[in-house]
């Protein structure tokens, strides 16, 4: 009898601690990605668990409509400027919806109001949405650079430089002749050997210039491409900076989440020990109750080793001649 009263007392205290009978205010929010959120996800304001998610639906515009409640005692904290965010606990377990308390001078949010919630940046999405484009751009950059390098023919460059060298040698020999005062400028022009030499030099010069011009023409689109690549590289660097700052934020959130889990884990042994004592008390009570049953009637319900008899339909219903 005493054991039964203890169990009832424990049950009543459990009901009180679980706040089953407390009054609540319902709110809702819409999200694109509700990863890690489930009915029973905790709603937290200023570090206090103030409510839970009650229902998750899909709205007409294919967004996830999350309904949650906040205990009436904490409704004061939820004002028209309150916003929320989803903590990154999904990396280590469940998520928590964190609502930022609103300004006390603003009106309180009514029942069933919508609270905007910032969605979590999940690592999967980071990979897909952020890292992949950056890597793609980098790959394009390398690809384009390799095209530029491929387009330059080393043989052509060598020929051009050799031609240039011949021209310079000829010009030097010509200038040497002039410097040595061998004949006048007129004689120099009428000298067949010199004339031939100049003609050859000019031809070689023309050929070299044409080659150079062609190289310059070929290099122009490459230069334009390089310019484009520089712009893209700059953009990639911007993305990378953004990514790095978001990753940093993510790590900060993760650290906070781990601290939170750590706190919860510290509470776990106490909770387990309490549960164990409740279970022991319950077992004793049930054993006591069983003996009472035996005394009154032999119709014992063996609580520990059996289930309620099935009264379910287990046979296919006869539907007459099948088609």
């Amino acid at each position: 009898m005493v054991a039964l009263l203890i169990v009832l007392g424990l049950f009543a205290s459990k009901v009180k601690s679980l706040k089953i009978l407390d009054r609540v205010v319902h709110y809702q929010t819409f999200m694109k990605n509700a990863q890690g959120i489930s009915p029973e996800t905790i709603v937290n304001i200023s570090g206090i668990d103030v409510g839970r998610v009650t229902d998750i639906k899909v709205s007409d515009n294919n967004k996830i409509n999350i309904h949650f409640f906040v205990y009436k005692n904490f409704q004061d904290l939820v004002r028209t400027d309150s916003t929320g965010e989803v903590s990154k606990l999904s990396l280590v377990g469940d998520n928590i919806i964190i609502i930022k308390p609103g300004s006390p001078n603003l009106p309180m949010l009514p029942d069933d109001a919508i609270i905007p919630i910032k969605e979590p940046l999940v690592t999967d999405y980071l990979t897909i949405a952020e890292i992949t484009p950056a890597l793609k751009k980098f790959a394009t950059l390398v690809d384009n650079l390799s095209q530029v390098i491929d387009a330059i023919d080393p043989k052509v460059l060598k020929d051009s430089s050799q031609n240039l060298q011949t021209v310079l040698t000829d010009l030097r020999s010509l200038s040497d002749h002039v410097a040595d005062g061998k004949g006048s400028l007129g004689r120099f022009f009428y000298d067949k050997k010199q004339e031939q030499s100049i003609a050859n030099s000019l031809l070689l010069l023309e050929k070299t210039l044409a080659g150079l011009s062609q190289r310059v023409n070929e290099t122009q689109p490459m230069l334009a491409n390089v310019n484009k690549l520089v712009v893209e590289s700059k953009r990639t660097l911007t993305d990378a900076t953004k990514l790095s700052s978001e990753s940093r934020q993510l790590i900060v959130d993760l650290r906070r989440s781990i601290d939170k889990v750590d706190q919860q884990l510290n509470l776990l042994p106490g909770l387990i020990s309490n549960t164990q004592s409740v279970l022991e008390s319950s077992e004793q009570t049930l054993k006591g109750a069983q003996s009472v049953h035996v005394f009154i009637d032999n119709k014992i319900w063996p609580f520990t080793s059996s289930t309620e008899p099935a009264n379910k339909r287990l046979l296919i219903e006869d539907a007459g001649l099948d088609d």
Binding site: K299, S305, P309, K312, L315, D318, G320
Partner: protein
């Protein structure tokens, strides 16, 4: 005083409860398997249903649970019939009949075994034998207190078999079925009205009144579509195709057969798939 009242209430409460059946937890696993099978069956996923019922059968056999194995076998027969697998249905039914002869069959399943036998014979187009098999149940109609649904089911089955045998010339059970439907209490069950339409369509087609038969069959088809009853839709489509073919409307017949083939394929009913494919081939050869 209060303590005394509490003690009396605590002691009296269990006495109010009925005597519970004491059954170990493991039995619920068999029931879960049967229920999963039933869900699959209702969703027309017959291969999955077969798998679940087979698992349930093995499970109950492992506990030597006679009623459980018989429940599993009956469900297996129904599912095999839904897949038009007469061989598998016959195999399980034979075991159930042997148990009935040996006196091991649960009393509540006896009539069900007869109905399963009738269904199997109907599927094998052994209509005379099917009618003979159901007659003992029909003769008990007046003496037994059956629900309206069971009574109408029996009469509908007998009327359909009788029409298939005698083309509506000796409508003993058909007349009784019509009378029972006329006397049916509100709310009336449209399912049986539709079965009557299909029987009337059969009679009309036997009398070469194809227009009337098609009209009745299309009404039935519309009803089955509303009910999303795949097997009945497929049957109606096949019956319509046969009448269209009788009127030499080959393209229409071909179309209805193809529509039915899609359903039978979805149901994985290999027997009917083969049957329809043969008919389609035959029509293609004719045209």
């Amino acid at each position: 005083m209060t303590k005394l009242v509490i003690i009396i209430v605590i002691l009296a409460l269990p006495a109010c409860a009925g005597s519970p059946n004491v059954r170990p937890d493991s039995y619920s696993k068999g029931e879960n398997l049967l229920q999963s099978g039933l869900i699959a069956y209702r969703q027309d996923d017959f291969p999955a249903a077969l798998q679940k019922f087979n698992s349930a059968l093995l499970f109950y056999q492992s506990l030597d649970d006679n009623r459980g194995t018989q429940l599993s076998r009956i469900n297996l027969v129904e599912t095999s019939l839904a897949l038009s697998d007469s061989v598998a249905a016959e195999q399980q039914l034979r075991i159930l009949k042997q148990q009935a002869v040996a006196g091991f069959l649960d009393e509540t399943f006896k009539n069900r075994i007869i109905l399963l036998e009738v269904k199997l014979l109907f599927q094998q187009q052994r209509y005379q034998e099917a009618l003979a098999a159901i007659e003992p149940l029909l003769l008990q109609l007046d003496t037994q207190e059956l629900t309206d649904n069971k009574r109408l089911n029996l009469l509908a089955t007998a009327a359909r078999l009788e029409t298939l045998i005698s083309a509506g010339t000796k409508p003993k059970w058909l007349d009784q079925f019509r009378d029972a439907l006329a006397q049916e209490q509100e709310p009336r069950q449209p399912k049986f009205q539709i079965i009557l339409k299909r029987i009337d369509a059969l009679i009309a087609s036997q009398k070469q009144q194809n227009h009337e038969a098609l009209k009745l069959l299309h009404e039935a088809l519309d009803y089955y579509k509303l009910q999303a009853d795949r097997r009945a839709i497929a049957s109606c489509l096949e019956e319509i195709a046969v009448i269209e073919l009788a009127q030499n409307n080959k393209y229409q017949a071909l179309e209805y057969f193809k529509r039915s083939l899609a359903i039978r394929t979805w149901l994985k009913d290999q027997y009917n798939i083969n049957k329809i494919q043969q008919k389609i081939m035959l029509i293609n050869q004719l045209s």
